[in-house]
């Protein structure tokens, strides 16, 4: 059985490399519903969870004040064992869910990126660990930077 499986994997990787299976390589399709949700609870439901728990094992590192809402640097990480995915939710954005990251085995659950914030509000780092959702939250003030030109 092992033999067949390894042969199969090699076949798949060859086909992927040859670009014959582009859709398969993108097993995921974009979670339209989650990205259209308007509240933290709705997003969590649409990501397949419910009643996320606050946990200090989830760390959201970001500035308290962002000079410009167009680029807010965030680092989100999880110390929870077996973290499968991490997501960024911005409470008062037109759409609450900003991004989700699947963390395969061997990849560290620690991601840095930059997001847009519509106005001062709470930002949530959401981590999924063996089927349950945990979060950390922090208010980030978005100020009218510059000379208000």
């Amino acid at each position: 059985m092992k033999q067949d499986r390894r042969a199969f994997l090699r076949l798949v990787s060859l086909m992927t490399a040859a670009g014959m299976l582009p859709r398969l390589a993108h097993a995921e399709t974009w979670n339209q519903a989650a990205f259209a949700a308007k509240s933290v609870d709705d997003v969590v439901k649409l990501l397949g969870g419910s009643a996320p728990q606050q946990s200090d094992q989830v760390i959201l590192n970001g500035p308290e004040i962002a000079e410009n809402g167009a680029v807010v640097p965030l680092e989100i990480s999880s110390k929870l064992p077996g973290t499968e995915s991490i997501a960024i939710l911005i409470e008062k954005n037109p759409n609450t869910l900003a991004a989700t990251f699947n963390i395969p085995p061997g990849t560290l659950p620690d991601v840095q990126t930059r997001v847009k914030m519509n106005e001062t509000c709470n930002v949530y780092a959401l981590a999924k660990s063996d089927g349950k959702f945990y979060y950390a939250a922090k208010e980030i003030k978005v100020t009218l930077g510059g000379c208000g030109g």
């Binding site: 004040i65 003030k141 100020t143 009218l144 930077g145 000379c147 208000g148 030109g149």
Partner: protein, 212 residues
Amino acid sequence: MHCVNSKLVCTLLLIGWFGSAMAGEDATVDAERLQDALRRSFSGATPEEWKTRVEQDRNQTLCSRYRNAPPPDIAAAISAEALSSVRYPESNKLLGDWKKGEQLAMISGGGQVSRIVPDPAGTRRGGNCFACHALSVKEVAAGNLGPVLTGFGKARGTSTETVRYTYEKIYNAQAYFACSFMPRFGHNGWLTPDQIADLVAFLLDPQSPVNR
């Protein structure tokens, strides 16, 4: 009234003329060369834009020449002329509506000229006071180019002198500080007397967040 005014005006001209000779024409570049460079650089400006945004009035000429630090005699003449040019609201009500004042203090855009980033239609002009002054405590993003005005009304009360002084200071800051960096909001017609009265209220009214 006229005689005082005209006397003021001629002393100003005399001093201005004398002043510039003493301090030496703008030692850096002569006026002719500067005008030439301006005409070529702003050749895209409409006649109206050239007149209201490039051409200088006497105050701007003097403050530029003296790098905003005019000698005492010229400074006194500038302030005297500024104070005498203040216009008050028809209603003579110098303490307006602080809520409208707060709005005006927040508005930073308006009155800009740009082909690359044109002002959206209907952009309102405002005082943009938060750019330079701390006012209400809750507004974190406040500048410090001008003094902190938090608690201004609490510290001063609302006597007629204070209300009048605050109105005149916003209308033409140079009435009390020659070549102040603060724009002459009223004198230049950027804000109307009634709008300035609303800003006075924003600064002095006990209900205003400036004094809470």
